[in-house]
Every structure is written in structure tokens, then in C-alpha cells.
């Protein structure tokens, strides 16, 4: 059936033919000029920095596996990766939504200030390191040192966590459903309040997941590292 809508605001790039620079230039500049809001990327083949630094309400669909820093520094855009992501996916994102349908390598969502990062599979080590306000939902498990020094924001882990979860946490909050191999320094389990359950429900809904919020545990900072203790003898 013929599409009765006006010319769809869509554009396709194939990274076996188009260069990464052409793609990113289009996303940064020409998409707005041409009134294109929906971009499909084929054959990313592990390229780095795809859809980095976007600053517009675009919908980017990447079909395949991507390399380092996909959708880093994202603002406003919604970037979906139908594949796995290399290190630093959604690093330092400010707003918008980044959705990885496969697994994410190390440091997913590192130092992200805002927006929502969803990883359907596992996220490797240091997921959400130095998080500064974004929300991260991991459908699978996370590697060691996840949420290290996370300052603000929420990390929802539907699977397990490896060692040192939440080491040196500030005000970020972690919700974890599975087993935690070990908590990091100053991280502790805390009771779930109604507000926490509502928060978990809200994150699950945003990520399209249907777990029972009652299955999650809250991990937050005991705040014993907030002030220097001369008597602590460096044992935390």
C-alpha cells in the first residue's frame, strides 16, 4: 500500500560505502537542514565514535556491532544499536536515550550526566563509572567496579554484579536484582522504600522490562568516605 504520509524524513547510510565522517557530519549538521529526523546505519562493522556528540531530536538506528564511544556525549537524540557496543558506549551523554540490544563492553555510560542508557545484554567492567546523573538499565549482568565513584543518577541491574560494586559511591543509587559478588568500599545494601520501588518500576517500564520491582535490592553509599578520618589508617 502506498504510504500516504509526506516524504518520510529518513536517510540511510551504509558504512561500507559512506564514510564515518559523512555520517557524523550529516547527523550534526545536514539532518536538521534537510529536515531528516530518522537515520538508519547499515554495516557499522565496529567503527568508533558513531553518532557521537549529537545535539538534536534525531532517531538513529544502527544495525550491527559498533566500536568505541557510540553515542558519546549524546544530547536529545535516541540512538538504538541492534548489536553489541565497544568500550565507552554513551559515555558522557547529557540527555536522550541510547539503547544497545546486544552486550556493551567496558565503561558503558561512563560519567553520563543525563538521559537513559539501556543495555539489553551484559555490560562489562566499570559500567556507569563516575556516573553524574543519567539512568542506566542493564538487562543482564555487570562486570567488576561498576558504578565506581558514581556521583548521581541510577543504575538498575537485572542480573548479577561482579566485584566491588559501587566502590566509593557518592549520591548515585544502584538497584540490583541478582547476586553481588562483592560490594566496593563504602557501598552498602539499604532497605527498599516505596519511593525506591516506584523508581525501579519507572526504570523497568522505560526500558521495556517486566521484572517485579520487589526483586531488587538497593545499594547506596554509607557516606563514611565523605570526610577524612585520621584514625582510619587507610582501611576502608
Amino acid at each position: 500500500m502506498a504510504n500516504l504520509r509526506p516524504v518520510p524524513e529518513a536517510r540511510e547510510f551504509d558504512l561500507t560505502k559512506d564514510t564515518l565522517r559523512e555520517l557524523n557530519l550529516f547527523l550534526h549538521k545536514h539532518a536538521a537542514e534537510d529536515g531528516v529526523s530518522r537515520i538508519r546505519v547499515q554495516n557499522p562493522n565496529g567503527a568508533h565514535s558513531i553518532a557521537c556528540g549529537l545535539n538534536a531530536d534525531l532517531e538513529v538506528h544502527i544495525h550491527g556491532h559498533v566500536g568505541y564511544y557510540v553515542a558519546g556525549m549524546n544530547q536529545h537524540a535516541s540512538v538504538t544499536i541492534y548489536g553489541n557496543a565497544g568500550p565507552g558506549a554513551g559515555e558522557n551523554m547529557m540527555s536522550g536515550r541510547v539503547h544497545i540490544k546486544g552486550f556493551a563492553s567496558t565503561a558503558a555510560g561512563a560519567s553520563a550526566h543525563g538521559g537513559l542508557l539501556i543495555v539489553d545484554g551484559d555490560a562489562s567492567l566499570r559500567c556507569g563509572i563516575s556516573l553524574k546523573g543519567a539512568d542506566i538499565v542493564v538487562g543482564g549482568s555487570v562486570g567488576s567496579f561498576s558504578a565506581f565513584m558514581a556521583q548521581a543518577g541510577r543504575i538498575l541491574i537485572c542480573g548479577d554484579a561482579e566485584d566491588a560494586l559501587g566502590d566509593s559511591l557518592y549520591e548515585a543509587v544502584i538497584y540490583v536484582r541478582g547476586k553481588v559478588r562483592s560490594l566496593g568500599a563504602d557501598a552498602r545494601f539499604e532497605p527498599m522504600s516505596d519511593a525506591d520501588r516506584a523508581s525501579v518500576k519507572n526504570l523497568l517500564t522505560a526500558a521495556g522490562l517486566s521484572h517485579d520491582p520487589g526483586e531488587f535490592k538497593r545499594v547506596a553509599s554509607a557516606k563514611s568516605l565523605y570526610h577524612w578520618h585520621a584514625d582510619a589508617n587507610q582501611e576502608y
Partner: protein, 298 residues
């Protein structure tokens, strides 16, 4: 930063394409390692009473036929040589240690890069694509291989500092990362009579593991022992004539990804070096977990 690649073909019909499948893997890691590259390829082994020695003369002109003639005069055992520019593979029934000593005395500009029954080793400075062309990597066949592209961070850019490093027979290792206690490791090994050729940190790891193999460990036990002896960041990829093994340190700072199908196991620092492989869309992809040992046998 460096790039590592490994490939082991399970499907014997792919053995003739081993090099051709690998070259895009190696050149795909050029940005991670533009200053040198190297490759260990494991071929059909020579007869039990023979050894292969990969020889490299760098910028020095060497009269390979004359070298072979000299060897034949000195050693009564059979010897043959396959020449490729400044590189040659010598096969000989003579004791390989005696052959190496003879070469050191009579052809001091020639380096012995590897010794074994199945290993051929190539390494040089320059762009990976140039090195692949120089030694016709495209045409190589074999069961498995270990490759490396180097961006030097801790010692000089010379062919000797390029990876893979070898020690003993048929053993090689490549490394992405940096060790913080190579000198301590070396201090432990040197009194045991183990000699070093460079000041490179990776060589310390290579000689440590090979020492453990000689002491009776299997490769996995040697790597297990390495967790407490080797300090630093590493993704190590190792080869023996029978297996390919990868391991990452506890912090997994250095990347690695594995693609496995019924036909092959391919390993690289990044997926972009695997994207061209046949049926990659149906491969099982995973990143090796920290301090977990993954190995595959031919």
C-alpha cells in the same frame, strides 16, 4: 596501545586460507599499532627429527644460499631453506640449539626469531599492511596464528621489540598492555640461566610462561601462576603447536573480543578486525572475562 589478532581454523578446508582470512584482521588493527607488526603462523609440522628456524636479517643483506652451504658443510644432517627477502625459514635435522649457535657465530646479523616443529615467525617495523605484503601473509596456510600490531609505549621501536615474542620451541606470545614488574620477573629468571634478548616487558612474560612449561606446567597452569607473578595490564594471546590461548588481567583494561563458529575461532582487540570474516553474523561473540583462561586446540 597495541592490537592483537588470533585465528584458529577448525575446518581443515580453511587451512589454505588462513593467511588471507587474517590479513584484514591485522591491517584492521593498524590504528592500535602502526609502528611494527608481527605474526606467528603454525603450519603442518616438519618431521619429528627436523626443526624449523625462522631467520631474519633486517636491513642487512644476507647471502642465504651461502649460509645454507655453510650449514651443510658444518652439519652432516639434512638442511633446506625457504627464502623470502630478508626472511628465511630454515629446516634442519641438526640440533636447533647448535644451529642457532652456529648462525650467531657465522652470520651475526641474522636473528633467529623462532624454533619449533610448526611455528614460522615474521616481525618487522613498519605499517602492518606493508609487513603483510612484504612477507606475503595472504598466501600463508596453517592451522592457527597469533598476530600483533604495536604502538610502543615502554621500549624502543625495533624489529626485536616487535611481537610476537618466542621462547623455547613452538611457543609465542603477544601482549596488549604494559607490565609493571618485568624487571623483577627477569631478576628471578636470569639466575636460572634464562637469557633475554631485549628490555621489553612482554619478553619477561613470554620467558616466564615458557619457563613454567619447561618445568612441567601445562599452559593453563602456567597462566594461573602468572596471575600472582605478573603485575600490570595485559591481554595476552599465546600460541603453541597445539593451541591458542587468551587471558586478560583482573581489571580487563585492554580489550579483546572472540568470534566463534563451527569453522573457526577468531580473536581481536576489537570487532572491526572481525567484521569481514565469513558468516560473522552467525558467530558467537563474547569478550573474555578478566582472569578467565580461554583456549582452543587444533
Amino acid at each position: 596501545m597495541c592490537g592483537i589478532v588470533g585465528l584458529l581454523v577448525k575446518n581443515k578446508t580453511l587451512r589454505s586460507q588462513l593467511g588471507a582470512l587474517m590479513v584484514p584482521m591485522l591491517t584492521g588493527m593498524t590504528e592500535r599499532g602502526p609502528d611494527s607488526a608481527g605474526l606467528a603462523v603454525y603450519t603442518e609440522p616438519v618431521a619429528d627429527d627436523m626443526h624449523k628456524l625462522s631467520l631474519y636479517s633486517g636491513e642487512h643483506a644476507v647471502d642465504w644460499p651461502a649460509l645454507l652451504e655453510g650449514l651443510r658443510e658444518h652439519f652432516s644432517e639434512h638442511s633446506a631453506i625457504a627464502i623470502n627477502g630478508n626472511h628465511a625459514v630454515l629446516s634442519s635435522a641438526a640440533d636447533p640449539d647448535r644451529v642457532s649457535d652456529w648462525i650467531a657465530r657465522h652470520a651475526p646479523t641474522v636473528a633467529v626469531l623462532s624454533v619449533g616443529h610448526a611455528i614460522d615467525l615474521y616481525k618487522d617495523v613498519g605499517a602492518p599492511a606493508d609487513i603483510a605484503r612484504r612477507y606475503r601473509f595472504n598466501a600463508l596456510s596453517g592451522t592457527h596464528l597469533v598476530g600483533h600490531t604495536r604502538m610502543a609505549t615502554e621500549s624502543a621501536v625495533t624489529p626485536a621489540h616487535a611481537h610476537p615474542f618466542t621462547a623455547g620451541r613452538d611457543f609465542c606470545l603477544v601482549h596488549n598492555g604494559s607490565l609493571s614488574n618485568p624487571h623483577l620477573v627477569r631478576k628471578h629468571l636470569e639466575p636460572l640461566g634464562i637469557e633475554f634478548e631485549t628490555d621489553n616487558d612482554t619478553e619477561a612474560a613470554c620467558r616466564f610462561f615458557e619457563w613454567r612449561l619447561r618445568e612441567g606446567d601445562d599452559l593453563e597452569s602456567a597462566v594461573q601462576r602468572g596471575f600472582s607473578e605478573l603485575d600490570g595490564f595485559y591481554t595476552f594471546l599465546m600460541g603453541t603447536d597445539k593451541e591458542l590461548l587468551i587471558v586478560r588481567d583482573a581489571f580487563a583494561c585492554k580489550p579483546a573480543i572472540v568470534a566463534e563458529t563451527d569453522d573457526y575461532v577468531a580473536i581481536a582487540s576489537e570487532f572491526r578486525s572481525l567484521a569481514h570474516l565469513p558468516h560473522i553474523a552467525h558467530a558467537t561473540l563474547f569478550e573474555p572475562k578478566p582472569e578467565e583462561i580461554y583456549s582452543w586446540r587444533i
